[in-house]
Amino acid sequence: MQSRLTLYVFTAVVILVLLSASVFFVDEREKVILLKLGQIERSDYEPGLHFKMPFVNQVRRFDGRILSLDAQPARYLTGEKKNVIVDSFILWRIEDVAQYFRAMSGDEENARLRLSQIIKDGLRAEFGRRTIQEVVSGDREQMVAELMQEANETASEFGIEILNVRIKRIDLPSEVSESVFARMQAERERVAKDLRSRGAEEAEKIRSDADRQRTVLLAEARRQAENLRGDGDAQATEIYADAYSQDESFYALYRRLNAYQNIFQGEDLLVIEPTGDFFNRFSSESALTR
C-alpha cells in the first residue's frame, strides 16, 4: 500500500515536470521565438499560453515594448559649416523578432550600437542640408520624418522599427557659446545705451520745453506789463494835459516852485548872493532900520 502511494506520487511528479516543460507563457510585454535545436521554428506568438516540445524546443524572450535609446550628444556640421552639439533620443521596438534574432543574435546592446550609428548617419545628412536657424526653429518633425524614413530602411534589416527620433538639445559648442554670450551682451548694451539716451533725449526735451515756456510766459507778461504801463502813462499824461492846459502860466509857476523844493535837499550847498531876487530886501530893509 505504501509503495503504491509512492508510485502515485512519483507518477504525478513526472507528469507535472513533463507538463511544465511543454507549456510556456507569453507575456504582453514580450516577443517570443521558439527555437528547435537552434533553428527558429516560430516567432508569431500572441500573449498567452502556448505549447512546445519538451527538451527539443527552446524559448527565447525579447522585450516587445517600446524601448528608448538616449544617444550620446554628438557634434554635427550644419549647412553653413557651423558645429552644433545635438542630443537626441530614439524610440524603437523589435518589429520582426526572427529577423532581430538572426541579425543581433538577441543582443540588445548590439542593437543599440547599430541603431545609434544609423541615426547618427541620418542626422549628419539632415544637418548638413540645413542652417542652424532651420535646425533650431524649423520643422523638427519634418526633418525627423525624412531621417526616419531612411533609417527605417536600414533598421528593418535588423528587425527593428524606429518609431521616433526626437532631438532634445541643439547646443552650440562652448567656444561658440562664448561668442553668443558676448553678442548677447553687446546687444543688451546697445539696448541699455539706447534706453539711457532716449531718457536723456526725453529729459532734454522736457527741460527745454519748460525753459521755453518760462521764457515765453515771462516775455508775454512783460509785454502785457509794458502795455499796461503805457496805458497808465497815457492816461496820466492825458489827465495832466487836461488839467495843466487850463492855465499854462500858473502851471509853470506851480511846477517850478515844486521843483525847487524837490531839487534842493539837505546835502546841497547853496551859494547865495545877497543881491539876489529873494534877498534883494536885505539892503532896503537895513536901510529902513538905519
Binding site: Q2, L5, V9, L19, S20, E28, R29, P47, G48, L49, R65, S68, L91, Q133, V136, R140, N164, R169, I170, D171, L172, S177, V180, F181, M184, Q185, A192, L195, E202, R207, D209, A210, Q213, L217, A221, A225, E226, L228, R229, G232, Q235, I239, A243, Q246, D247, F250, L253, R256, L257, N258, A259, Y260, Q261, E267, D268, L269, L270, V271, I272, D277
Partner: protein, 401 residues
Amino acid sequence: MAWNEPGNGDKDPWGKRGGNNEGPPDLDEVIRNFQQKLGGVFGGKRNGNAPNPADSNGGGSLGVGLIVAILFVVWLLSGIYIVEPAERGVVLRFGQYHTTAMPGPHWHFPYPIDHVEVINVENIRTVEIGYRSSGARPEGSILSEALMLTNDENIVDLKIAGQYRVKDAAQYLFNVRTPDSILRQMMESAVREVVGQSNMDFVLTEGRSEVATRTEQILQEMLDDHGTGLSVTSVSMQDVQPPEQVQAAFADVVKAREDEVRQKNEAEAYANDIIPRARGQAFRIIQEAEAYKSQVVAKANGDTSRFLQVMTEYDKAPLITEERLYLDAMESVYSRTNKVMVDVDSNGNNVLYLPLDRMGKRSPNPLQTNNSPARIDLDSINYPSGQTNNASTDARSRGGR
C-alpha cells in the same frame, strides 16, 4: 516550475496567503501538522523516523486526500487581493492581458495562471527639467539641461516642471519599457522645440505661460502617439533667465529702463518746478504793471486835482498868490539846505573855491546842518565872477538849471 516540486510548491502558496486570512498561530499549527503528514508519506518510503508512524500508517490515502484538499483551498485563497482606491490592478492570464481591476477586493486564479500588477494611477509624479528640487544637489541648476537655444540664436536658462500620472494602467505596463524616463526625454525635447521656435524676448517675458502650454500639448501628443498610458496634468514654468554670463548686461538693461524713467521724471520735476514759478513771476510782472498803471493814473488824478484846486484859488488873487507861493518855496528851500552867502563885487574877477567835498561830508543830517551853517574861511575862497552873474538873475531861472 515550482508546483511540480512538492517541497517548495507547498510552501509558496502558504507564505503568500499567510497575511490574507489566518493569523500566524494557526498557520504554524497547520504547517506543523502538514509536515507531520508529509513526514509520514516519505517516512514510509525512506524509513525515516516519523514522529507518529501509527497515524501515517492508519490514515494512509485519506491523509493524502486531505492534504491535497487543503493545499487546493490554500492555493485558491492565495488569489485574493485588494486594490486600493488610488490603484488599478492589471490582471494577466498566462501572460495575456485579461482585465483591469478597479479598487476593491478581488480574486484571481492563483499562480501560475493569473498574475496581477498593481499600478497607482492617482499618484502625481513630477518631472523637472533644468533643475532638481530634491536629490544630491537640490535647487541647483543643471546647465546642460537648462540652457536652450532660441529662434534668434540667443540662449536662455530655463527651468520647467511637469506633473503627470498614469492614465491607463495597462498601456503604462505593456507599451513602453521605461515610461517615466521616456516622458522626461520627450518633455525635454518638447520644451526645446517650443523655445527653439520662439524669440528670446518672448520667452523671457510674456511668452512664459505660452511656452509651458505648448510644451504640454506637444508632450501629451507624443505620449499618446506611443501609447505610454501617461497623462500630463500640468506643465509649469519655474524660472526663465538669461544665462549667467550675460545676466549683468540684462540687469543693466533693466537699470537703463529705470534710468530712462528717472531722467524723464527729473526733467518733469524741473519743468514742474520752473513753469509754475514762471507763471507766478509773470503774474507778478503784470500785477506790478497794473499797480504802476493805477498808481500813475491815481497820482495824475491826485496831482491835477491838487493843481486845479490851487489854480482856482490862484485865479481869484493871482499876484498875491504868486508872491506867496514863491516865498513859501524859497523859504522851504533855503531853510533845508546849507547856505553860503557871498557878497561879491559884481565887477570882481576873483575865483571862489569852496571845499565842496568837506562840506558835504561834515554833517549827514540835514536838520543839524540847518542849525549850524557852514563856517568857511573866506580868506581862502576865491570867487569866480562869471558864475555870480548867472546866479544873480531871478529865482525862477535858477530852478531850471
